[in-house]
Amino acid sequence: MQRKDAAITVPKPNLKREIVRHKDVYLLLLIPFVFYIVFKYVPIFNAQIAFKDFRARDGVIGSAWIGFQNFQDFFNSFYFWELLRNTLFYSFGKIIISLPVSIILSIAIYECTHYALRKTVQTLAYLPHFLSWVIMYGVLFALLSPSSGILNDIIKLFGGTPIDFLSSVKAFPWVVLLSDAWKEMGWSAIIFIAALMNIDVSLFEAAMVEGANSWQRVRYITLPSIKPVIVTVLLLKIGTILDAGFNQMYMLYSPQVYSVADIIDTWVYRQGLLNFQFGLATAVGLFKGIIGMLLVLVSNRLVSKFSEGSSLF
């Protein structure tokens, strides 16, 4: 009787107890935690050199304050609007092309019933992600060279005129967007495949009983089920919208395509790092970070407004 009368009390959440109880899991968290502390949070202190005339000998603290001069130098640079245009073009372009390609690839892999074929495609699609852009440049050069590239050989075979893909302002943006999609689609597909694995199989079975074809299953079950993941990936990509891919561009660009290839990061490399203007480089980094954060906040707000439950926070 006594037990029946006792009030059921919910213990107060205790983080310390939780950590002790799940110490193995929290131990795993330690590595990324330390990584973020050392490489992401500690350097924030140094961001103050964006407002300073940074002199290494005087250090971060000792350098003189110059207000927004570094930001003004960036905004007033001769190519500012062109850099911004190119950066946004490639960032949005990569999202528009790469995201659907990754989703399609993940669905194709998920739907494939032939185990060996599925694993082979999956592995082959991942591989380019692990190649550096130096190697990728060699591959692209072998494919696209106007005199000996395989693609131009095919064009010549059909009587066409070879195209210098890497130095033509019309072709270059497509080379950048498509080569990025090719390189990263397998890797980006991993997260979608993981999301697909979590879909309740009974939904598909029920749909098949009801006579739904493959396209209908994808449209009415698969895509809605992974929508939160798609939104999350999209929001994360928007957060780095001003990172258009330095390594790729640095390897592929050349003076004749600067007008469509020079992005904020390549400019910072030349003007900031090669010319020892670290204050300027930091100012640009800070500018990119703030824009990215604002975009994430706005996008997240919009997502939570129009699709409840899909937002990041």
């Binding site: 205790n14 983080l15 310390k16 502390i37 050392v38 949070y41 500690v42 350097p43 924030i44 202190f45 140094n46 940074f54 002199r55 290494a56 000998r57 250090g59 971060v60 603290i61 640079s77 001769f78 190519y79 050069f141 060279s145 106007p146 005199s147 000996s148 070879p162 210098d164 890497l166 130095s167 302002v169 050349s254 003076p255 004749q256 600067y258 007008s259 020079d262 400019w267 030349r270 003007q271 790092l273 090669l274 010319n275 020892f276 670290f278």
Partner: protein, 523 residues
């Protein structure tokens, strides 16, 4: 729990300040064992080989006989990457004690107060100074009246030449071209008349890649110098008194651009020239893609470099020719500067009292012991002396200074070599090619290349460099003219020059002119 989180937050903030404010490892001058640690960042002599092994006897000699604990670190082989690494270390105020640095970067480090003047230290190295440092080399490291580094002789000057496929000329019954008109005829024949007789349309007249910088090799770069030289505009700067300034302002530069554009329109330029990297270009001539090029002596004639071409084309033959004459009778293989490798001492090293030991290290490197040890390794292990006293590989196999095992012991040789006849004879031996049995020598090629006419542009390497926007505008505009994106007309050219001046080109030119006049670079 709140307390724990608060403590964590405080610790994090403390970490942030400590890490951010720190970063520079200051070493004291004398270690517990009485040695002085010297951190040296050097440019590797053989970039594709590994670093000097830990068992290098030089470490022991320096420690035991000179009290120097030497720590070596290899710089990246690419010049831009070298600059970035040095400047990244500089930004963290953690430059090594002694390091190789380019002149433009040195200028910035001096401005930051990060490197020490070395005027007083030459006297501490009498032997090395006599061997390596003369007035020209000291001028190369002089900024605002003080020498800020030790500039050793770099690669041999005038070590490139204009080469043409003699077998292709013979196959087509053509003579070596002597002027630009004849050159165009030969290039057209090489492109369209199947000079290699393989029945395929797979050859081009001229091959090149963009090899440019902001001091000597202005865009479109050194590989087109023989063409630019025919118009008297090879090199970024003209240092002649009557035409002092950037060559781009000379009317003849426009004429040279028109000629190069014509080469592109005629289809005689290998169309990959705008996208080739150096290695692609070198692979291309070894595959017989073009019949005329400007190439460096060793890249052309050294045994390992010539071997693929020899295997592919046993009957193929390159010859070094005179540069073609232009409309005014001018001709030049290219503009040349004296090449130096500057090693600077960080201000921190001097403040820590290491300057004298650094000088002792450098002086030892130029002693007989250090010179041979750094240049060729150990006698009997990595080299033997021939009857002329020239170090040769002999029968030492892989352990020889030229072998895969032994070459790593010579990674510091560029710090001791000064392009003496002994060094060149050792570096470029005469050999017989494996497939065709030709007798080849990169040294013979070098001497022949040096005998051609070159344009002196001594001091170009010291000239001021433009900011990134000006340099981009300059290079992009010329590239657009050459690739046909922008029509190469007098009106468009003038518009380009006007805009170039407006965004900073005129200031850059004025700074360069003033610098050249103030520093006695005008001829």
């Amino acid at each position: 729990m709140k307390r724990l989180l608060s403590l964590l937050l405080v610790a994090l903030m403390a970490c942030t300040v400590v890490f951010a404010a720190g970063g520079s490892e200051k070493t004291t001058a004398v270690n517990a064992d009485g040695t002085v640690t010297i951190n040296l960042w050097y440019g590797a002599a053989i970039t594709e080989a590994g670093p000097i092994p830990d068992d290098w006897v030089g470490y022991d000699i320096l420690r035991e006989e000179h009290g120097i604990d030497l720590h070596l670190s290899v710089l990246p082989s690419n010049e831009s990457d070298q600059d970035v690494r040095i400047q990244a270390a500089a930004a963290g105020n953690s430059l090594p004690d002694l390091f190789m640095v380019s002149r433009p970067v040195l200028t910035r480090l001096v401005d930051q107060g990060l490197v020490a003047p070395v005027d007083d230290y030459y006297a501490l190295m009498p032997n090395r100074t006599a061997q390596q440092y003369d007035a020209d080399s000291i001028a190369m490291s002089t900024i605002d009246g003080h020498s800020y580094g030790f500039a050793s002789p770099g690669s041999v000057a005038k070590n490139e030449g204009l080469l043409i496929r003699k077998d292709w000329l013979d196959n087509l019954g053509l003579e070596v071209p002597t002027n630009l008109d004849e050159l165009m005829e030969v290039m057209i024949a090489f492109t369209y008349d199947d000079p290699d007789g393989n029945g395929k349309d797979d050859t081009y007249g001229y091959g090149a890649y963009i090899e440019s910088d902001a001091t000597l090799k202005g865009y479109p770069g050194a590989r087109l110098f023989p063409i630019l030289g025919a118009f008297g505009v090879d090199g970024l700067w003209c240092l002649e008194e009557e035409n002092l300034g950037l060559n781009v302002y000379k009317p003849e530069f426009y004429d040279a651009m028109v000629y190069i554009r014509q080469m592109c329109e005629e289809g005689v330029m290998d169309p990959n020239w705008l996208t080739y990297k150096k290695d692609d270009f070198r692979a291309a001539w070894k595959q017989g893609r073009f019949g005329i090029m400007k190439e460096q002596n060793a890249a052309y004639a050294a045994e390992a470099n010539y071997a693929p071409f020899d295997a592919n084309f046993p009957d193929g033959e390159w010859i070094i020719v005179d540069p073609p004459k232009g409309p005014e009778g001018l001709a030049s293989v290219g503009a040349y500067d004296q090449n130096y490798r500057i090693y600077a001492m960080s201000q921190d090293a001097v403040d820590a009292g290491k300057a004298e030991k650094i000088c002792e290290l450098l002086e030892w490197m130029s002693s007989d012991e250090g010179y041979f040890l750094c240049g060729w390794g150990q006698e009997g292990v990595n080299y033997v002396l021939d009857e002329n006293g020239v170090p040769v590989a002999g029968d030492l196999g892989d352990n020889a200074f030229s072998g895969t095992q032994g070459q790593v012991y010579t990674q510091l040789r560029n710090m001791v070599f000064y392009n003496s006849d002994t060094e060149l004879a050792s570096r470029y031996p005469t050999y017989t090619t494996a497939t065709s049995g030709k007798t080849m020598s990169a040294l013979t090629a070098l001497r022949e290349m040096q005998s051609k006419y070159w344009t002196a542009a001594i001091g170009s390497g010291q000239m001021p460099t433009p900011n990134a926007d000006v340099q981009r505008y300059y290079e992009q505009s010329l590239a657009e003219f050459l690739s046909g994106q922008r029509a190469l007309t007098p009106e468009n050219w003038q518009a380009f020059l006007d805009q170039f001046n407006a965004i900073g080109g005129a200031d850059w030119n004025a700074q360069g002119v003033a610098y050249a006049q103030e520093n006695g670079l005008v001829r």
